[in-house]
Homo-oligomer: 155 residues x 2
DNA sequence: TGGTCATATTTCAAGCATAAAATTTCGTGC
DNA sequence: GCACGAAATTTTATGCTTGAAATATGACCA
């Protein structure tokens, strides 16, 4: 009797599909945990965190369109998130000097402080959620992921 | 002059965070491409595809609650997606024999045919999006991802 | 000057996602 | 039989997300 979980001739497309499903399971799981902790412990969301993170790298602010390019989300999307951050006193809009069409979004001091606190927790959470990997394994994994990324064509 | 992109003493938490950001970039990129192709080429969405996929594995159907457990999404969420699949003639609800609270969702013949066609394209797309990796690299990556998955604790 | 096209943003409609509330039915203990 | 808590589902309110339409301004050219 022969035990064989997969045929020796299995096409590579099948192993790539299996890899994709595992990757998705890992990232969705981590993301779900991050969302839940942001919500339960800090009463905020991942999209808000992402916007705070982007703005914290640009102390002078970012045009709405640059923000949407940076985060790879639609213009209408950032409009809504920045609206809510503004209501919460974490961000504000400034008229762009020299172009009356454009708005520059930036953090308030409260927003900067809120992000700094969140970022510390976020890093610790990610560290915790990837404890299964040693430093070497993390580096190997990073290298392979980078290789996969390099070959990505969009259309 | 010394070139040093990262300090030798960099804590492992930083390399794990970098890994997380790369992982996220890879999976979000692939997912975005899959969503766009489902939409542009087949006029459907990833959540619908996921439900079709789950139901295709259970020809006798799945209770709504089992479907939401299987897909790891909320009950209210599956209600809406199955509603839309039903309107499109791809799924239907059957009363559960012996429990008048429960509904069993299952595919129509049209739904089964639609899924089979989508699944072929989906596998080819994933294969295409991961062409950067050889069979060996894909296996190494899968093994490391599985290791990371095994160490996941939820809370 | 005025016309025209491009750019920056917001608004809108639809779908996806969640948690929490509401509804219906089940099962059990009395 | 019936009271009562548990389970299955739907409904509701809110937020995220997109693509497309609408609005306003800029840039350029005739």
């Amino acid at each position: 009797m022969t035990l064989q979980t997969k045929p020796a001739t299995e096409p590579i497309s099948k192993s790539r599909l299996r890899l994709w499903l595992k990757l998705l399971k890992l990232t969705s799981g981590i993301e779900a945990t991050l969302r839940r902790r942001l919500r339960d412990n800090h009463d905020t969301t991942l999209p808000r965190f992402d916007v705070l993170s982007a703005l914290s790298r640009y102390p002078d602010g970012l045009k709405m369109s640059d923000l949407s390019t940076y985060l790879k989300v639609s213009n209408g999307n950032v409009t809504g998130i920045v609206d809510r951050l503004t209501e919460e006193g974490l961000a504000l809009r400034v008229a762009s000097p020299g172009d009356r069409r454009a708005q520059v979004a930036r953090l308030t001091p409260n927003g900067k402080a809120a992000f700094d606190a969140l970022a510390r927790h976020h890093e610790a959470w990610v560290d915790d959620l990837l404890t299964g990997l040693s430093a070497d394994e993390a580096k190997t994994l990073t290298r392979l992921v980078e290789k996969a990324l390099a070959a990505q064509e969009q259309p």
